[in-house]
Structures are given as C-alpha cells and as structure tokens.
Amino acid sequence: MTTSAAVQTTTNRLTFAAIEAGQGLNAALKQPPADALRQVAFSGLRGRGGAGFSTSLKWELAAKSAGERKYVVCNADEGEPGTFKDRVILADFADLVFEGMTIGAWVIGAAHGIVYLRAEYTYLRPHLEAVLQRRRDAGLLGSAVAGQNGFAFDIAIRMGSGAYVCGEETALIESLEGQRGEPRNRPPFPIDTGFLGNPTIVNNVETFAWVTCILAKGADWFKGLGTEKSTGHKLFSVSGDCARPGVYELPMGITVAELLEEVGGEAAKAVQIGGAAGQCVPAARFDRTIAYEDIPTGGSVIVLGPQRDLLRMSRNFLEFFLEESCGQCTPCREGIPKLLEGVELLQNGRCSMTYLEELCGLGETMQQASKCGLGQSAPNALLSIVEHFQDEILGRVVAKRPPARRERTA
C-alpha cells in the first residue's frame, strides 16, 4: 500500500503510477484522430463517473457533430458521498488527466479544454495550475501540441461553487456558463449542444486518465481486464466499517465479497455502492458483481457494519438530497421532503404499511419522472432498504389501522 501525496489516503498499487507522462499522448498523435478513437472504442472503456456511457461513442458523436468550436470538459466535481478517488488522481496523476483531455481534443477536434473543479478541492488548484504550466512549457499544450502543427489545445480550470447537482453534465455546463446550476432538458445532449451551445464532451477525471493508459499500453491490455461488458480496471473509494479504507484499483466484475475481503470488511451486513445515489446491497447478495451490467458505480463503496441502522443511513442520504436538489422539477423538489418525512415517521413508529407503500410508489415515480439523475436516484437508498431489509423496516411500521391521512404528515 502507498499513500497519496495530497491528503493521507491509502491506495493499493495503481496502474497510473506506472505510466509516464507523454507516453499516451505521443502514441495518440502518431495516428489520425479516427484511429485513436478506434483504439478507445476497441478498449470498451465506459464512463467512470458511474453512468457507464461508452466513452468512444460519446467522442464519436461529438467528432461528427457540426460546430466550429468544440470543448473538452473534465468533470472534477467529485461530490458523491463516499467518493474521493478523483482527488487522489488529481493530486498524484494530473498529467494523465490532462493528457486524456488532450487526446479527447485530438479525437473530436477541440481547441479548448476546461476542468470543472469542485469548490472543496480549491486547495488542489495551485498544484494543477503548476502541472498545466509545466505541460505548456514542455509544448504539450498550446498552439502546436507536441509539435503537431494545426493542433492547438489548452486547458483552463474553472471552480465549482459547492453544488452536488453540478456533477450532472448539463448542470455543470450551465454553471460554466454562469447560470444557476440546473440540469437542462436532454435531448439535445452536450455532444450536440453543450458549452455555449457548442459540441462538448464531458468526462470524468478517471475516464480521461484511463484513456491515457489505453493509448500508452494498448487497447488489448485494457480489454483483457474486467468483464466483457465492463472492461478494464476501476478505482474504488472505500470507506466505512472496514479495516483498510482507501482508494483501490480493482478489476470490473469483482464480487462484493471479494472487494470486502480486500479491504477488510468481511463483517459487513450491507454495502452501499454508488454513494447516496447508489444502492444498498445486503450480505445475502454479496455474490453480486460490481460492473455496469450488475451493480454500476462511480466508485463509492461504503461498508456498513452489523451495528449500523440502515434507516438512519437512508435518512442521512435523504437529508443530503434535500439540501442538494436544484429545486427545478416537481418530483425531486417536492418528493424528497415527503420521503424524508416518511423515514422520520418510520423512525418514530408512526408510519402505516399503507403509507409506506404510497411512499414507495412515490419513490418509483421520482425514479421515472425526475428531470435528472439526482431526483431519479434520490429514492434508491430507501427503496433498496425496504426491499432487502424488511426486518429493519417492518418492526417500525404501525401495525394497526393508520390514523386519518391528513394527520399522518402533519
């Protein structure tokens, strides 16, 4: 195990540590953009922010999209509760990220890159600016990147202002444009109508770093790791009731049990995977795999020991969403307070079975009808607890007939 430079974070052995700056970029620039894209496509890399959209497809669409100005945006608004892997990458391997962005620019034909850096990571900015300057000095950014005439590309850093929802790509773009950070209607997607109306690719910090590794070590190497549908390795931010919390690079397709063994969390009664927006996996299902086809995740793994009250945890998450909802669409803005009220009723033993069912129905509506991922995933934690931990819930439901409806929510 090693320790990251910026903040005391334990990591296992990371591929990134073995990649030298310039390796990936030079390999990419030796081939035409279309060939570089083909490499990314062959690797099967999917978005490491959690949604798992095919990186190459996104880039291909942006490359084809008509537009004089195109933008490469790095989503460094790492805000999912329990995620801190991007912080480690930015602190220790910023070169790989910037290089990935440069490769992205080469592929889609962009001249401008923007890193949208989480407000809480302001302390990383001087370091990142220094890395950028070093790359400019080395000719790896600027009017002719790596001596390649006609390929101009530079990267600017823009600070977020502390809104979780700005991790959603269209809200991030709104924020970049100086508007309230609120998700847009999709379609149109950013690849088509992004920053200032121009074609834009928005990718996670880790995704860009992997692109650099893929170009450096070859797409075959990456494709050989992980599962068929979820290739490669992934970084996990592990926290909670385990012996060795930290950032772990593990192959996709690993089972929850294997992961717990690695981090010393075998005694867990459940694991919250994917942060507040993710799902709660019970011990009985620790044979499930972490992969886009089973449990997708942006990397947050919160280990929950036997002593944890899951209802309390879901309340904590709902309080988080209550704070972070942008307030734009009805299901999210008005639904979250109702779910939270429901959890409080449950905690106080004042929720009837009928009302609990009503709330679960509302949760499903929120999953289906909210405008963006925040509202769509806000009910996940509560719904998965109701599904998998009925013991914890049912003990708290009022057995007798419910009181009149109006009083219940008073």
Binding site: N185, G327, C329, P331, Q368
Partner: protein
Amino acid sequence: MDKELQPIGSETRAPASQRSRTAELLKHAKALGKEIDVSIDGNSVTVPLGTTILEAARELRIHIPTLCFHEDLCLAGVCRICMVEIEGQRTLQSACSYPITAPIRVSTHTAKVRRARRHVLDLLLASHHGECYICTRNGHCELQALAAEYGVDLFRFGRADRPRYAIDASSHAVVRDMNKCILCRRCVRTCIDLQEVGVLEALHRGQHTKVGTFMDKPLADVVCINCGQCINRCPTGALRANDLTDEVWEAIDDPAKHVVIQTAPSPRAGIGECFGLEPGRPLTFQMNTALRRCGFDRVFDTNFAADLTIIEEGVELLLRLQRAIVERDPAAVLPQFTSCSPGWVKYLEHFFPDYLPHLSTAKSPQQMFGALIKTYYARTNRLDPKNIVTVALMPCSAKKFECNRPEMCASGFKDIDYGLTTRELAKMIREAGIDLPKLEKSDFDNPFGTATGSGVIFGATGGVMEAALRTVLELVTGQKIENFFAHADIVPLRGFEGARYAEVPITKVGPVPALVRHLFPDWNWLRGATLKVGVCHGTANAKRVMEDIRDGGRFSHCHFIEFMACPGGCLGGGGQPTPTSPAIRAARAKAIYSEDHAYSVRKSHENPAILRVYEQFLAAGPCGHESHELLHTAYTRRGKYIA
C-alpha cells in the same frame, strides 16, 4: 422589415437557462425536408424532425396536460405533468421538451404515466397554500383545472396548513403571493427571456426554492417595470394585479363624488374573454352601458386623449425636426421615443437613463385625460376637482404605477385616482349582476365623446406610429393620407414582428395649418426629406433597438420610434384577461383594426372635440404654455443599481 432583429415569440433567442434547439431543428427539417414517423397511442403521424412530442400530439388532437409549458416562452420541462412513456426507455419523458429525432412509439396514459401525473399533482397541492374560494383565479386556475381533470380526491401527501411567505404587496402594480406558487417558472422565463428585464429568478434550492427578486427585495424596490406580463402567464393566483375595485366601489357609493371613467381601446377587445366569448369580439358600447349601470357618472373614451397625445407628440416631433434641420442645433435630440407605455418609460429610466431626453415629454393618454378632467371638464361643468374621482380602465398593470407617480398631479390633484385592469372591471360587472355580452349598446359621454380611429389603434403595436403618421403627414403635406396609403391603413407598420422600420419620403409640402402656424412659418425645410420611423414591442425587442441606436445602427437614424413594453402592444398588456397566446393577441388586434375602419373620422387632428379644447382651454396651442403645464411631464433617472 428588419430581418436582423428577431421577432418575439417562442422562437426568440435561445434562452440561456433552458436551451432547446427544437425551433432551430424544425427550421432545418423544413428546409431539408427531413421528416419522421411517430406513433402516439397507436396513431401515426409524420412530423418534421425535431418536433416535440407535445406538438406531434396536438397534431393528432391528443391531449397532454401541461403546466410549465407556455406558447410564448422557451421550454422548461420542469413541472413534469406532461410525462409520457416512450417504448424502450427506462424513464418517462416530458412531452413538451422532448424533440423527436428517431421513430418512437409514445403512450400518453399508461399506468406509469397516470400514477406519475397524480403524484406530481399531489406533490404540487401538498405545498400549494391557498384557498380556492378566496383566490382571484378561482374558476380559471390551471392547477385547479388539472386537479379536476385528474380527479384528485384527497391530499395524499398532506397539505400546507400555514403560509410560508409574506405576501409582497409593495408594488402599485403586481402583488406576489408565493404561497400559491408552484414553481413552474413561467414568470421567470417571462421576465428574463421574453421581456429581458430580469427581475424574477429562482432563489435558493431544493424545497427552499422560491421565485424572488434580487436579494429577495420587495418588488417596488427593484427594477420591475410593472408590465405585468408575469401575471398573464401565471397558471395560479400567485401573481395578480393590485386590485382596486373596492376603492372604486367606495367612490361610486359616495354621493358627494363625481366618478368618471375613461376606457382604453384594448380592454374593449379583450373583456369579452372574461365572459366566455372567443377572443376578438369587441364589446365597446355594451361596456358603456355596463359602466353606467355600475354607477359611474360619466363614461369617456380614452381615444380622445389618444388623439390629443398624437397632436402634442406629433408637434413635439416637428419641433425637434425643425430644431435639427433648420436651426442645425446639434443639441436637438432625435429619434424621439413615444411615451405612452408606462412599462417602457420605466424600462428606459432603469436601463437606458442616458436616453431619457429622447422620450417625448407628452404624458400618456390616460394622464392627459385625467389632467383635463380635473381642470377643463371641472371648470366647464362647475365641479370642484376635489370631488371628482378619475378612474381609468386600462389593459395594463403599469398604469397603476403611472397614476401614482408624484409628478402626475399638474392640477393640484392626482390626474388619475385609480387604474383598473380589464380583469378587475369584469369582476365589477359580474358583481353588479350584469350579463355584459347581452347588454344594449350606448355611446360615450360628451364633451369628449367623439373619438377617431387613430385613438383606437393605439391598442396594437404600431398603432401609435400609424396614428402619428396620419396626422403628421397631413399637417405637413396638406394632402389626404389616403393619397399615400389606401384607406389610410399604413400597412408596413402593422403586424407582430419584433421591430419594424419604415421610410416615408416627403416630396411635397403644403401650407401650415392654423393649429400650428404660430410654431412653424412654413414647411419648406421638410421638402424632400425622408421620415424614418421605427416600431417595436416587448422590452426584449426594445433592448435590441436601444442597442442598435447606441451602436449607431439603422434605428439611430430614425426620427421617431414607437416603443411598447408588452408583446403585441397594449392588447397584450398585463391587465388583459388570461390566458394569452400569439393567436389570442392576433384576434384582439384584428378586432381593434376593424373598429378603426368603423370610425368616420380617423385622424386625430380632425377630431372636433380636440380642436374645441385648443380653442377654449389650451389657448397657446399644441406644446404651448398651458399644455406644457398640464399635458407634459418629466422623467426620473432611476438606473439599475439597487440600494
């Protein structure tokens, strides 16, 4: 017509916060002939690529409920009431904002959709604090209508039992009760994107989100221009005009008071909508009867004052031209801007205070009339002006602010005591048990009774300019306007394009008419000149024109420009019946222009009542000493910085 300036409407500049390229896609689709098949509830239709599901459904006459959607505004997709299910998609999609770019199969009322819609309504009702019985929108509230449509029979998620916010009644024009707000943000999009004033925006986030002003200051303390367009687009009773009907009733009930009302042209074209008639059915003369039955002592026609405004404003323009052309005075300020839209006046005071000298000093017709009633009319009828109560029926919420401007009391009394909106008068008429559409007709009262068609068309965008040109051209050329424009219809100034530009060459000049002979020895200096005029409506377009003037563009060479704060002009004013849409405004405009044709005298300077006023009262003539005292005003440099 100026193509560079965009017309208003749903295809205006892409809104920053809720950008959608639907309109653009549509344009391309039509050009490229790209079309796509879509199936909605099993019915197929072929639409241009990029058409939204809502538009396609309307094509098929399939009803999809909407709340945050409004034809005049950019897309939001936030209320989520228009959810539909698309085959193969995990989540539901909002029909109003989803552009069709691939062949899809849509279902509009599956179990999932029905449940989602009920939930959305239940949630909105849970935080909507307001009792329908005591709401101005009772009976024509979009939320109420949806609750009925979807059979809401219980408050599934509870209901707000106490208000969360204080009502903001600081403004003379607009009252905001955010407890009734459902956060559809139509008002925000109206204020930011349609009018580009930008007073209203969403504040805070999540459940604390509310629509508010800068630093949540009272509306009276921010740069609100009182146009009331937000009221017209609010689906609930969260926004309403400051209702003065109680005060007006009180004046009517007081036997010591002589209550006179003047009615503007636009309310006549709109009030029928409050009584269930389709838009575009003017009830001018039925309304006169109704007003008398309500108890008003005199019913006057604002058009009289509109004619007076045309004379004063037109002569002011000629004086400015003379100063510029004959005296070659570099300090002569041109173009002259119209000043009859109080929303526009306040807009200019806030946003372009350096251009206030361009604004005609002539008061608006409403205020001119008030000043005359409390002086000329009081004297000729031996009434004490302190016992006269002047009421103005206007299509406008900003008029409520205008009549409270401190400078508007030239006679020593408030020119106008109360400004009523069309909606408020409809309420009074209903309260008096009168079935307006079925009433017999009756005329306006003398001595101001006779009006001209020029006054009527003030209600539509371009109307003031058309009326002004009819008068100015006849005064200068000595020829009938019909010689230049058939039926005296100056068609290039009409329509709904955001900004319009026209040139009128003056080839011949005639003798100077008696009315203005003391001001102009002859017209020779105008021979061969080309009069350049502009027209624009909606403050977003006004902003474009102002920027064009600032940058030395085409409009900077104009001599006279008409500005109206509201889209469509007064007929789309903030005091007009709800709802509003481009089609409704077009119908009202048609009504106004057809009324113009019905008048025997259609030019302001031919109005005998006007000539009588100049003979008997304003002896120094247009822009003379008396008229300066009573009929002209000054403006305030407000700026846009808020203390």
